[in-house]
Symmetry: C5
């Protein structure tokens, strides 16, 4: 997993049905200098500016209610900024 | 997932049967400085210049009509350029 | 797998149920200059400052008692710092 | 997937049985400056100097006749160099 | 897959049972300048200084006698240094 900051939402009206209903958040990796922003699906309700815990890859499927082409998922909201 | 821009199509006449029928698009990662272009399969109909949402890895198999050696798939077209 | 040093714990009260009960450790990769810290789940009991062995991806599911959206797991504590 | 150039073959007489019978090609990523060469299995018959399309990860297993510890596979030969 | 050089062994007495019995080798990637050493399990018997072929991810499980949280495996010993 990695820690990241929610910086924005992304909207894609034309998309696979299986992705309908998920909020899609643009995440800035917290610990990486080269700032490779990525997109994670969210069902927990993380807001812009919040620090989140993101899981990647096949493990994500274990937390989805149905199979979907989602490879990154917000799995927690970090209580406080790590010192 | 990541956001990327469709920059070109790639044609490979000699390829695995399971990949037949998919458009293969060359994608430029939107947020990465080192521009590691990659190839994603597309069934949504994204055009050159459009911003797309791409998923990677095993999750891709959940959106294919049959199993195929495809590890990156266009899963949405981004409505507008993220600010 | 990689070798990493445990640098901190991260607490996320709001998280997926499947992740409840796992300690979440912030790990500094031992051999990487660009210090991309990441988070791994731990059930072995690694402490801050210890060198650990971390596995990633789908293989992690083979060591969990139940399926969970965890993509990095401490799978061993390194006896001594590699020369 | 990525586009790469076949630069060499690699021979490993002592290897897992499941990998017997596959040509192992050293591939230079076409779009990456830091030239992280890697090895892909090939059954299509790509030659040195040719541009190929390579898939990675679990999707590779869908194109193998039997399960094997292969994580990169040549899945197509690119018709012409992308402009 | 990648080619790497075996540079050391790592010993982790406290580890998951499923990893017991595997030699754990520290591998230096052959083609990468930023030298991100990693750890691979080995059953072929590669020695320090030898060039090996390493597979990653879920494909590794196809070569293990039982499921284990191992994400990198030595799958061959390279006959001679690629020119």
């Amino acid at each position: 997993m990695i820690i990241g900051k929610v910086v924005n939402r992304v909207v894609a009206t034309r998309k696979y049905d299986e992705i309908q209903g998920y909020k899609l958040l643009i995440i800035e990796p917290y610990y990486e200098e080269d700032k490779k922003f990525f997109v994670a699906a969210d069902t927990i309700g993380a807001g812009v500016g919040e620090l989140v815990l993101v899981s990647f890859g096949s493990s994500v499927q274990t937390a989805l209610t149905r199979k979907a082409p989602i490879d990154a998922l917000v799995v927690g909201i970090v209580d406080q900024e790590p010192i």
